[in-house]
Symmetry: C2
Subunit: 791 residues, 2 copies
């Protein structure tokens, strides 16, 4: 296999430290550790993060008003267990001193272990060979393991390995850039309680305001033929094991370090310390190599379905795998956590969960790792009580999900681009339905999804209003495009709400008719919900249906364009010509009112609607007697021309719809902006963490864009294309109870549907409008040139 599985750093430069800490960050959805180099000194920002573990403080507003989010939540940078303090004689191992004669770090994406190799000559002239390896097993909860193998090839010396856990907990400083997020004003962890023996060290913390508890435990093994002895050292926030080795030339010493993090967000007296010590003990017992093997096995299972093969474009092949790996690492999978905007690789956006999860990441999990998709959605379902309370506080019915949150409470301090993005409700509903249908998870469909659908439909009905002469209007909202705020009848919001309302009505009637037990449980849950509106009344589904059917979707017949909202075409187009390059992103150089006043987009809005609700727009065009393809092409062209792409969420969507309109070159140009965004540090801010949604968007671009995959109501269709130079594109999807392989070549496409059981029922897919019946296990080849290929 090619090298496109390996991410490699071959030169050490201090100024790259932050970037590689992010790129080489390891995480398993619970625990994330930035990929710091092993000297513990050449560090940009060391970070250890636990998904969902945060502190909070009141938000200070210049002017306060009713209903504002009242508390900030911030994912904490917790106890650091990675720092190695290595001494060779009297010289500290510090890459900024001495001479680095050999250096390489490498992350094999099939293995999931970060391996590094250093040949460093100390200022005193002693050559040290260090090999390190680090893993955060995806198969375990919150365990990490590190291994250092140290050898002095030329001469003997005393080696001191000081390895500790340290809770200095420095938070990133926030500046005027709203994208970084504000820092908590004080240290968020209280002074720890400590426990220390030769075998194990334990730090216990409580968060200052949320009163969450955290225990970090550490243990070591050492293996060497050299003479050595060990001591334990203890300071307030810092526990260390010290190994002093009289190292003979050529006689290596290997230290393995095992870390466990246990935490709890509720007041129950869970014995966290016992759990953490047991986890460390277990890991130490099996040893580093066994953990690495576990990791490789886990990843083997993942790649079996998830791998995307792209031939003819090495850079893309490498990065699509890199991106998928990081998306996998970022996702919470315990039903209580989700996907932070920067995963578990940085504190940007305060570790909050946004619509990014549902719109960007969830399709990947829904089609590749459905069990994780379910867990991510269970998180949303579990926060329904808070969403109900929020709706009630805002005088609405049903439930309103937060725009940004960790614990389920709204934490957005700027409502025009926070609370006003009510579309989050429909986004969650939409993603949950997609998961349920793709995975065939009837239990989820008839219970959790049904409850979400009911509460979001109730919300929409109470948010909008039937306006005489117009229909059902949803006024005073902000769509996905944050360069336009507080508008009426944003098309994206309205088509998504429409879908939400109509489907909720259908689903509820179906559950009542076909699933009496689920119906009883649903009605009981709704009836008993605190702050709820009770069980579904007989007339509710009809009211949702009527609102959905009468939903206003503004359309400008003269121009053949959907305005982004009622007033969008009444605004002047932004003066792009006279905007200097350095004034992008606009949000850092223009007042929000200046931006809001113009036709200018931060990210696709109507174009996002074309992607997610394509079936609606096609039907709408047909209803008006207009050519659907042409309408989609014209709307895409118009909006694409006024989109800045100041959001990292933009290019993948632009790429998908460009591909749909047949402009494969343009689709590819957008695709390359996003596919290597983090690997090539295109925005210059990878040091702060990954762009999780943009990474996930890469896969969407490949599968929904070049693959042309659509899945409207269980109707699976493909319209593959190959960008210039690509000779093959292969990807898999878990659908219809099996695995579908789509293998695109310049002159034909192969479809293979496989099932693990013996069910011979064929599956029908559509290839550019032609239906193709797939008998399990039999490859069907559709001949004919693929657009974009072989020019």
């Amino acid at each position: 296999m090619s090298d496109s599985w390996n991410i490699t750093q071959t030169a050490f430069r201090r100024e790259d430290a932050g970037k590689y800490e992010t790129i080489f960050a390891l995480a398993n959805g619970h625990l994330g550790i930035r990929g710091t180099v092993d000297d513990g000194r050449s560090v940009y920002h060391s970070g250890t993060f636990l998904n969902g573990f945060y502190d909070s403080e009141p938000i200070v507003y210049g002017e306060h008003a009713y209903g504002y989010a009242d508390r900030r939540q911030r994912m904490l940078n917790v106890t650091d267990g990675t720092a190695l303090d290595l001494w060779v004689g009297n010289d500290p191992f510090d890459l900024s001193t001495g001479t680095l004669e050999d250096f390489e770090r490498r992350l094999d994406l099939r293995e999931g272990v970060l391996r590094a190799r250093y040949a460093w000559r100390s200022p005193s002239g002693v050559l040290v060979r260090l090999e390190s390896a680090r893993v955060v097993p995806l198969s375990r909860r919150a365990t990490a393991a590190l291994r250092w193998r140290i050898e002095l090839p030329e001469e003997q010396a005393t080696i001191t390995v000081i390895s500790g856990i340290n809770s200095r907990v420095k938070a990133d400083e926030a500046g005027a850039d709203p994208r970084v997020g504000a820092a908590l004003t004080r240290n968020a962890l209280t002074k720890p309680k400590v426990e220390m023996t030769r075998d194990i060290a334990v730090l216990r913390h409580t968060t200052r305001h949320t009163r969450f508890r955290l225990v970090c435990a550490m243990g070591h093994t050492i293996e060497t033929e050299n003479h050595w002895f060990q001591t334990a050292e203890r300071q307030v926030n810092d526990l260390r094991h010290r190994f002093v080795v009289t190292a003979e030339a050529g006689v290596p010493v290997t230290v393995e370090k095992f870390l466990a993090y246990e935490h709890t967000r509720d007041a129950r007296r869970v014995k966290l310390a016992a759990l953490a010590k047991r986890a460390v003990g277990n890991a130490r017992q099996v040893g580093f190599d066994a953990l690495a093997a576990e990791q490789r096995e886990y990843l083997h299972g993942f790649w079996e379905t998830a791998d995307v093969t792209i031939e003819g474009d090495r850079a893309v092949q490498e990065s699509i795998r890199f991106n998928l790996f990081h998306v996998l690492q970022a996702a919470g999978r315990d039903g209580h956590t989700n996907v932070g905007a920067k995963g578990l690789t940085g504190e940007g956006y305060e570790g909050h969960y946004f619509w990014d999860t549902e719109i960007y990441s969830l399709p990947i999990f829904s089609y590749l790792v459905p069990e994780t998709a379910r867990k991510l959605l269970e998180y949303r379902h579990s926060t329904l009580p808070r969403a109900r309370l929020r709706a009630r506080h805002l005088h609405h019915r049903g439930a309103l999900y937060p725009w940004r949150t960790i614990n389920g409470d709204e934490a957005s301090a700027y409502f025009p681009a926070g609370t006003a993005q009510y579309h989050i409700n429909a986004d969650i509903f939409f993603a949950a339905r997609r998961y349920a249908l793709a995975a065939g998870d009837t239990a989820f469909l008839t219970e959790q999804l049904a409850e979400i659908a009911v509460e979001t439909a109730r919300f929409w009905l109470s948010l909008g209003a039937h306006i005489p002469g117009r229909g059902f209007c949803i006024n005073g909202v902000t769509g996905p495009d944050e360069y336009t705020a507080i508008v009426n009848n944003n098309v994206f919001t309205n088509v998504m709400a429409r879908d939400n309302l109509l489907y909720a009505a259908d689903l509820v009637e179906r559950v009542e008719r076909d699933h009496p037990e689920a119906w009883a449980r649903l009605q009981a849950a709704l009836a008993e919900a605190v702050d709820g509106d009770g069980a579904i009344a007989a007339d509710e589904p009809a009211a949702w249906r009527r609102a959905g059917e009468e939903m206003v979707i503004p359309y400008d017949r003269d121009r053949g364009l959907y305005p982004q909202d009622d007033s969008f075409f009444q605004k002047a187009v932004w003066d792009f010509e006279n905007t200097p390059r350095e004034n992008y992103p606009l949000l850092l150089h223009y007042h929000p009112l200046t931006i809001y006043r113009h036709q200018v987009l931060k990210q696709p809005d109507l174009v996002m609607a074309l992607f997610l609700q394509g079936a609606f727009f096609r039907a709408d065009a047909v209803r008006r007697g207009e050519p659907a393809e042409e309408i989609i092409r014209r709307n895409f062209a118009y909006y694409d021309g006024i989109t800045t792409g100041d959001s990292s969420l933009a290019p993948c969507v632009q790429s998908i719809v460009a591909a749909e309109t047949g402009d494969i070159d343009l689709a590819y140009r957008y695709f390359v902006k996003t596919v290597r965004m983090d690997l090539d540090d295109i925005n210059g801010n990878v040091k702060d963490g990954i762009h999780a949604a943009a990474m996930a968007g890469t896969w969407l671009s490949v599968v929904f864009g070049f693959g042309g995959f659509r899945d409207f109501g269980g109707h699976l269709s493909f319209a593959p294309s190959l960008p210039d130079g690509w000779t093959r594109l292969r990807f898999r999807l878990r659908v219809a109870g099996g695995t579908l392989t789509v293998d695109v070549h310049p002159d034909h496409c192969d479809y293979l549907f496989a099932r693990s059981d013996d069910d011979p029922t064929p599956v029908v897919v559509h290839h550019r409008g032609t239906s193709v019946e797939l008998v399990p296990g039999e490859t069907v080849s559709v001949a004919g040139p693929v657009p974009g290929a072989s020019r």
Copy 2:
């Protein structure tokens, strides 16, 4: 004369303390002192304020963005010189102890002196008679004087009078109510330097952030036949003179206290202490009675023009005078200060200046005290450099005045109801033109006003845009109604901007043609302005005129209504029926988005436009061939029905336009809500300070409402009416170089125009459409029943 000149408090109740401190506050535009009772102990909030004297701090935002106001400004509560610490034997004079056998406080509005009388029996049984008087002379800058006359009618005792100056500087606590404003986090005055002799005490401060300097000086005189001696005491923030008197029964002691406050906002080494000591010395030399006589004389001159006579309605007669007195007290008159939202009686709204000055207070000064009107406008002119800088920072041309400010910099921390209220620019222009025309101040018209007109016109041109198929649109603004935000083509904003643009073009051409010297000065000022756009280019006036002429004023022909903005009628009407009374004001009980989403008004917006730009709306109706009276009546009726009046600025405007439509009963109902708002503490928050704009609005209601006065382009017209019970309404206006008296009786109206010179040129006014020629000195009586009267 009746008692309607005297505001009297006859009963002492601790819970009324705050209310009466505001009602009895004395101020002279520079210095304001709350009307605390003389025991210095039964105090709600003692306050001493200097107009324009503030400290500032960075504003903290939940999420920051480009162009946000960066520093908070807060008027400071400065050194207190009012507190009397009086002891009779060993008992402190404390109204919450002993027995209060007689009590009265009285403010004679013709005299401007607060006088109090106490007969208090101490806990030890000693009867004390205390008479106090307090004055803040309107004729002086920052001097105050207090007098205490103490007598023991029954028995002798030792009396100790401790009188000091004290800079404990406690700021009001801010809560969640955005109307109160946030407190600075720390004491804003640095530790003082002190100077202390038997004669005089001086405290010198510097503000913490703005580094302004303040000196407060105090001196006393004592007059008594009793034996006495004096000591001086000094603590860090507190300087005291102590007078110990062996008081014989029936032998009074009189202590007079003189205070002077001098401050500077710039770094020049002004000898503030010398100035303050000289002011104290001078005041002490002339004595309290002479200062009181000065005050009476000043007020005599004021009332000669300003008094409004209303017969048949005692409560209104009393309060209209009370309100005028407070408006007079509130207004800065040095060209560097303005009118705070609560005058100099409280720290509410942080002492900021709003449009309140121009729209509510300035008409009073323009028609009654034009020299003060000019000073208030000179303040705005003096802040043009900051307004230019603000416009530049927001990528606009011209100048943008701040929505709220002390020093001329924007200090609004919520841009949807701050910066978005661009109409402030037109409001200032409008008021400045009205002053210049009413006062015939050609110098101001051709220079300061011309410069303001040019810079505001330039701003409008750069804010709006010619939208194909529509005209000149001004998008993304908030009008006066803060329950609707960030909308397109707000009618109020657009008609005001239109007027601004058209008049600027006319004025500039007129100045160039008729006033060559003023033109040269204007062009030089514009050419040299830092952050400016240079001298007026040849094509600029035409561009302003075109934008004004093509200004979009949305109108709904079907309904015969102007929508408040483009989208207003697309919104659902607020559900008033199901809104419980306790949920008003809505802003404290509903999220801004909920409010913005509905047709519901905090205060008149379109109706305010009907008032200020009545000539436009009448012409617009005629142009469309519709009956103007009917259009105004219909629009008023519609908007009045959806106005909550959650702003204290609302009822006076509703009253004026109700009167214009002929509904005198309704006009009166609104009028009484506003006329006694503070005297009767209708909103329950008088303790925090006066509602300066609402008080000024009272006069507007009388003169523009019941008087039916309008002044469009020098065309003076009246349409008088008399509410039920009123038998006479008389008011005066300084117009056309003289004084016009309008004297309304149930069956006739008398008009008298008087001039101090011998110019016999008659003035023409219009009485309900009929022109009336007024020869100076000759009363013209127009017979005929006055609407509303004698039912």
